[in-house]
Symmetry: C2
Subunit: 375 residues, 2 copies
Amino acid sequence: MASEHPPISAPTISDVAAAAGVGRATAARTLGGYGSVSAVARERVLAAAERLGYRSNILARSMTTGVTNSLGIVVADIGNTFFSGLIRGASDAASARNLDVIVISTYEDLAAERHAVGVLLDKQVDGIVVSSAAVGAPDAEHLAEATRRGTPVVLIDRLVPGLHLDAVVVDNRAEARRVTRTLIEAGHRRIGFLWGPTTDTGIDTLDELLTVNTRSLWSDAERLRGYLDALQDAGIPYAPGLVTTGAKTEESAARAALAMLQSEDPPTALFATEAEALIGALHAVQDLGLSYPGDVSLVGFDDTSWATVMQPPLTMIAQPVDAMGRLAVEQVVSRIGSPEYEPRLHMLPAELMTRSSIGPPSRVPGAPTASAGKA
Amino acid sequence: MASEHPPISAPTISDVAAAAGVGRATAARTLGGYGSVSAVARERVLAAAERLGYRSNILARSMTTGVTNSLGIVVADIGNTFFSGLIRGASDAASARNLDVIVISTYEDLAAERHAVGVLLDKQVDGIVVSSAAVGAPDAEHLAEATRRGTPVVLIDRLVPGLHLDAVVVDNRAEARRVTRTLIEAGHRRIGFLWGPTTDTGIDTLDELLTVNTRSLWSDAERLRGYLDALQDAGIPYAPGLVTTGAKTEESAARAALAMLQSEDPPTALFATEAEALIGALHAVQDLGLSYPGDVSLVGFDDTSWATVMQPPLTMIAQPVDAMGRLAVEQVVSRIGSPEYEPRLHMLPAELMTRSSIGPPSRVPGAPTASAGKA
């Protein structure tokens, strides 16, 4: 196609004016929808514009109105199912409002996030939705600054402690506490947690764990706190070997789960807080020739259709990703042009999709292992 | 944050000029990087811009240069793992070139695609990558037109027959032929195909099927042709009941697979050409109390990490989604500003990830069913 028809450059207002036999100012007023134009001239300009395939220059209009009809969305990884679900919800809500979405992935790198926000401000987006890599307000000055300068920012999926901005999140602590309580009620007292905070130094005490946890992303930190809450509620002491401290990858989760399950006093249940952690845990369970929930119970974030065809199907926590994306866009749109507002926190509930991966513990904790010895 | 600090409006070139004690034109020349400015004035303007947090107005610069440093990506569904993988690859390639990406989902609706391309042209993106819903050139005039007017378009994942544009796709026909041949070599002669073309009228003959198939999306049509090629290579006649004609949803695929497996002469293998079709097929197999590959062999597009933790792990076709996204961006970038070019077709190979879901057939075709009777 391109080789057959040499490109024609897009027609300008001058082209339309010439074709309509009117002055450039008349054409500009007609096409820009401002000032007064005679009905006859107006009709001739619109007919010429149609004939030439003229497209009004949105960039020029943006400069006049200060509104670009676009939003920026900054997430850790557009290729991750959780984030692509958020983006789908956000995109749908934006499309319904004739807003375009500029999407940028940061891979949890704070410098990349700062750059991304700068790019979006340069593009003069009308608002920004961000799943930030910042773990505290001092790291999030770029977000506070954007808001102060009149580009509203809505946090999605993660709060940033100390940063008071609109936010749409799930109550990760409550959900993690609930699912851990479900495991405890099923009889489990040794529950492995994948994944805990990443650290090079060993963690021996609860205090050390809580200190390291303050340097985690909010959602990760909250899930660990919910797990610890439930243990405390049930009077179960924290066991250092049951909370991973490795890198947040499927391979690292698999290694950690393998080590836990091969230890002298292995967990009877595993709680995986990310899909990669759950897949890693499943690899470890399968490599040891164990089955779930017979040998070890399993539960994880976030629900997905493949969890329903696993045998047995997996019990999973489902976050309302679509609603989160939509709500974040509605919130940011409501802030456009508002000079001052009180930030609003939307804390949405998740749902525990109860299937068949939680059962009673395979053995009495502390007793010789029956199952892990199979390997 | 927003409530504590009332927003300050962004500083303008006039603000910078006033702060630097120079004229507006001098400030504009310095900040716009054009014209000549004395070294002293230049230094004062840059210092004032830095102090005030001035951001150069990209929109204004775009009007001058005609380059917006942005690309549009139009896909069927950003929430689908395949497309989010393409977008990740494309976004990474774009970021490396300081290009922003505007992403729009069309849900396979041609009117939505035309609107999306119009929006992107209005935004004056420098190029467009599109996974088109068009099944022939007459439906894709919006893409031909964009290219003729100087905004290069690169097709991704799907060709549009008759439309000569740059494209990055997998050889879907060859891959489908290869995987079907693998099933035939394992001894299968009755191979169910999920999913075939969607149609309300029954299909009885190969000719009818091939006619309806020309109205399918290119990738869908090619996969069916590859399946038929392999049957023909092996001298196996086409069996109408083994190619689905229902809606392209997980539920519809599950119903179709259930009906096939419960028929008098059921398939001994199922080839699912999409993840939803495969999950539907797995539901049907499980609902009937069958196992794979013992009772029925399974293989599908597109590979994913959960396929490795299914028991047994699934044999899958892996498309190079990341490379496809990157290559499409590289191709479109290479066309920016080129008035004429010969469209280039990049046909990438996929990989068959051989795991454990293909085995010998459970019975001799035509013989009484042993397995499907279990339900």
